[in-house]
């Protein structure tokens, strides 16, 4: 029997110890009328060899296209050591570290992770992860409403430059608590959040302003001005950032005079493969004064009976298993294994390596954008400086072009922005990380030119 070690003799002895005749007798408390009749539509079991053949076929169908698509998930090189170590059974098959003495490996790693993320964002503290970037933003919004003691408002200012799907997810998660997301338009020239439009909200009562960096268009926002505006208008500020960009760009803890209140985002660029969108991990950091409003697990360093240093889950009075209906969030299982990968990734890259990955990604995207702009019928859309994505307008039907690129040439050409921004018709969001070569860029340009 797959994965069940019992021999006939074992079963006989165990049943005899229990004092029943058959395994079936052990289910005699379940009313007969409810018993399951038929699972006929579920296939019968396969051997590992047969499943291997099946899954090889399935994988082969998907292929390995050349990727110039970003839009929230980015292909970076992942050092071999990252997943070699992460999938060691001791990390891979352990549970949430409730028994601290038997979980010091995971606990110390999580403490190191918290320290790395706090430093990368220049914030005081970090939690030990949330599900993904989008749900982390939803949790940040809930947290801001709780933490803003100066305001009773349940309204949040949410720029249209924030990843559209993050806005959708946030809406889905917070709407049942009567929290309202109010849109702020973007400047059609720069691609940044429109500060003139934002000024119209001045003096109104909001719990928080969300500030993306870079924004969904890849454009770098004027974060100092936005963070200061939030302070001036007595609201908290929530930064939603790409952690890879923070090796290069000013971290949210240094924005304006005193930094933002909460930072969140998608951790995927730090060692998680694209993998059809998950598992990734959400991260969240905040100022010390808000730590008791933060959702998710937090690991602290302490000492044991002999005075020796050790690590343990702390501030658990915020969490559902202690506080139940009064918890800061319902989150329990988080994305521990992805955090393991990210911690190893950040250790391998170090401050210089991370900065060079960010820089190379920036420069490759610049090179890609400039090369594509040489093609007749392709123009840049925004004037704002960008990190590692670029917005281009094509004078052709972009949906058909993207499909042809993928289907006929195995190139993922970019993201069709009209899906979320109807005014940006035939507009492509492209990305070239450090993994793309000059030859890759040339190949894409040549193929695209032939299609126009």
């Amino acid at each position: 029997m797959p994965f069940i070690p019992h021999s006939e003799q074992d079963i006989k002895e165990m049943l005899s110890t229990i004092g029943v005749n058959s395994i079936e007798d052990l289910f005699d408390e379940i009313p007969e009328s409810l018993r399951c009749k038929d699972l006929a539509s579920i296939p019968t079991g396969l051997s590992e060899m047969d499943v291997t053949r099946l899954m090889r076929d399935r994988a082969a169908q998907d292929g390995l296209p050349l990727c110039f698509l970003g839009a929230g998930a980015y292909e970076h090189h992942i050092p071999a050591a990252v997943w070699e170590i992460t999938t060691r059974g001791e990390f891979y098959s352990a549970y949430t570290p409730y028994q601290a003495e038997a979980s010091q490996g995971t606990l110390q790693l999580l403490y190191e992770y918290q320290s790395m993320m706090a430093s990368l964002t220049a914030m005081d503290v970090s939690n030990a992860s949330l599900y993904d970037g989008a749900s982390a933003l939803a949790e940040a919004v809930l947290m801001a409403v709780r933490a803003n003691r100066k305001s009773k408002s349940k309204k949040i200012l949410m720029p249209r430059t924030v990843n559209p799907v993050y806005r959708k997810v946030t809406e889905a998660i917070v709407k049942n608590q009567a929290i309202e997301l109010v849109e702020v338009p973007y400047d059609p020239v720069t691609g940044q959040t429109d500060k003139v439009a934002l000024e119209k909200f001045s003096g109104e009562d909001f719990a928080a302003l969300v500030i993306p960096q870079p924004n969904f268009f890849g454009v770098i926002e004027d974060v100092d001005a936005l963070a200061q505006w939030a302070v001036d208008n007595k609201m908290l500020s929530i930064a939603v950032v790409n952690p890879m960009a923070l090796a290069l760009l000013k971290p949210p803890g240094e924005w304006a005079e005193d930094g933002v209140d909460i930072v969140c985002g998608e951790g995927q660029p730090l060692g998680a493969p694209l993998a059809s969108g998950g598992p990734y991990f959400g991260f969240m950091c905040c100022k010390q004064k808000h730590v008791r409003q933060m959702p998710g697990r937090i690991i602290g360093r302490t000492t044991d009976l002999d005075g020796k240093e050790g690590f343990t889950l702390t501030l658990q009075a915020r969490e559902q298993h202690i506080r139940r209906s009064k918890a800061t969030s319902n989150i329990c299982t988080n994305q521990g294994l992805l955090v393991t990968a990210a911690t190893i990734y950040m250790s391998l890259l170090g401050p210089e390596g991370l900065k060079k990955v960010a820089l190379n990604s920036h420069q490759n995207t610049q090179a890609l954008s400039q090369r594509l702009q040489k093609i007749k019928g392709i123009e840049p859309v925004f004037t704002g400086a960008s990190f590692h994505e670029s917005v281009l307008k094509l004078d052709t039907n972009i949906e058909i072009t993207i499909e042809k690129l993928a289907h006929d040439h195995h190139i993922l050409g970019g993201y069709d922005l009209a899906k979320d921004y109807p005014e940006l018709e035939n507009t492509l969001l492209v990305c070239a990380t450090e993994t793309r070569t000059t030859a890759d860029i040339e190949q894409y340009a040549t193929v695209l030119e032939s299609l126009l």
């Binding site: 994965f3 169908q61 990390f91 352990a94 790693l109 690991i299 302490t302 000492t303 521990g336």
Partner: protein, 483 residues
């Protein structure tokens, strides 16, 4: 030693760093970082050695018996990881076209169907990232259902006192008030109390069956009737699905919505606290509200259903399609097991639990519900030992670690004093169970003869009992702040 303490300015894992580039003029100077983040400056070997050694400080299924109740710590087949880690799967961009995703999507489509059939529901969405997000999705769907019928007076959710903490927390996240329902002396929901609690304000109930008390609620049909009669709906917490897989289906018990913890029942790894996957299944009436995306089959092609296809959906809960890689592992596990294997999961998990319960009782331990069948797990209570010998469930749990066993779940559910919730799972052998039982007997003896030794355990782990009060009062959660 922390990884930071291995740092040496100027040291790096050079093979991992891309070629030099000059800072480009295209980035405005005021947007740039000037401070260096405190990240380790170490060699590749130092990283590998440091984290390999850290891993060795963990207990895990691969190294230890891990009978953690309500967590279903069973063997995670290696094939699931290997096959889900093929480059075409790990390299697939989530926004890539369906033409480059038919292999992955076919797995998701078939997984939806397998989960639907094994739970007796009408449709499944795979998108929730973990059990708690599945709970949120389920309660949000129930709210959407009542809202659409303009049945807006219903502002209460009923939750038994034995429920997981996530249940009340999820109901509150959906804007509900929580009303707790007591448990009767046999471990079933107190039906009389339930009947008094229900009414026009009842939006629904969240139930785990078998419950966290390790018993199957025999009156489930009557509970279902009671809730449905007042217009409420039933939510099934699938944390204990391992106990009944292929034996009885939540859909047949009358549940309107369920979540499954694939990281429990479908043996995807727990990863030291995730990732999980918490797909939701629904009955006919909640079908329009399922979270998106969902995979559908149109002619011969698999496609994503989105907002346009599902206008009444409660929406999206993650940026893409949930924890796709976890779902792939669960699919592979389901294909390895097949339907006959699923039924065996429940059978041998239940056999192991009942065997352990009987033998532990024979050794002198007190069962919380001695007259009930154990499901896949059971509770023993040490309230007598606590009173007479001053030895608590925590002491036994910590001492077990010295004997190389991970502790059972302690102090949960909250209504049983000094409890250990023990779940062996189907993948453990009789010898392993016997070894654990003999050790428990030894500890009971130790409690009587040398309680002081127990109270200060463990002794043989990397650390001894930790000062949790100090951890919370003198908060040290960020090393870089001190650096």
């Amino acid at each position: 030693m922390l990884i930071f303490e291995h740092s040496h300015t100027g040291r790096a894992a050079h093979a991992q760093i891309p070629a030099d580039t000059d800072l480009p003029s295209s980035l405005p100077a005021e947007a740039l970082r000037t401070s260096k983040p405190v990240l380790p400056e170490v060699s590749e070997m130092q990283v590998v050695r440091h984290y390999t050694r850290l891993s060795q400080k963990n207990f895990s299924i691969d190294t230890h018996f891990y009978p953690l109740g309500s967590c279903t710590m069973k063997y995670n087949p290696r094939a699931c990881n290997t096959l889900a880690s093929q480059p075409e799967f790990t390299g697939r961009h989530p926004l890539g076209p369906v033409s480059h995703g038919q292999g992955f999507m076919s797995c998701m489509y078939e997984l939806q169907n397998i989960l639907k059939d094994v739970t007796g529901m009408q449709a499944v969405s795979l998108s929730p990232a973990a059990g708690a997000q599945g709970e949120f999705a389920g309660v949000a769907m129930i709210k959407a259902y009542h809202d659409e019928r303009e049945d807006v007076e219903r502002d209460e959710f009923l939750v038994p006192d034995a429920a997981h903490g996530t249940n009340p927390a999820s109901a509150v996240m959906c804007g509900y008030k929580v009303r707790e329902i007591p448990t009767d002396k046999n471990g079933d929901v107190d039906l009389a109390a339930l009947k008094l609690a229900v009414g026009p304000k009842t939006a629904g109930i969240m139930l785990t069956n078998p419950s966290t008390l390790g018993v199957f609620d025999r009156k489930i049909a009557e509970i279902s009737q009671t809730i449905h009669d007042v217009g409420g709906l039933l939510y099934y917490d699938g944390a204990n699905l391992n106990a009944i897989l292929g034996k009885v289906r939540p859909g047949d018990m009358g549940f309107d919505v369920i979540h499954m913890n694939l990281h429990k029942t479908f043996s995807t790894p727990h990863g030291g606290g995730g990732p999980g996957a918490g797909p939701v299944g629904v009955s006919e009436r909640l079908l329009p509200y399922l979270p998106i995306p969902i995979v559908a089959k149109e002619q011969d092609q698999y496609v994503w259903l989105d907002e346009a296809d599902c206008p009444k959906t409660i929406g999206r809960l993650s940026a893409f399609a949930g924890n796709a890689g976890v779902l792939l592992r669960a699919y592979i596990y389901a294909r390895l097991l097949g339907r006959e294997g699923m039924e065996r999961v429940a059978e041998y998990a239940t056999l192991n639990a009942n065997y352990m319960l009987k033998r532990l009782m024979d050794k002198g331990f007190e069962a919380a519900y001695p007259n009930r069948r154990a499901t896949h797990e059971f509770i023993i209570t040490l309230k007598r030992e606590a009173k007479e010998l001053g030895v608590t469930a925590m002491d036994i749990a910590k001492r077990l670690l010295d004997y190389d066993y991970h502790a059972p779940t302690t102090y949960f559910p909250l209504l049983i004093p000094e409890c250990l919730l023990i779940e062996p799972t189907e993948t453990e052998s009789k010898e392993t169970l016997d070894g654990f039982i003999d050790t428990m007997a030894l500890l009971l003896e130790e409690a009587k003869t040398d309680a002081d030794t127990l109270k200060l355990a463990p002794y043989s782990l990397p650390v001894r009992r930790l000062d949790d009060v100090k951890a919370a009062r003198q908060l040290d959660i960020n090393w870089s702040k001190k650096a």
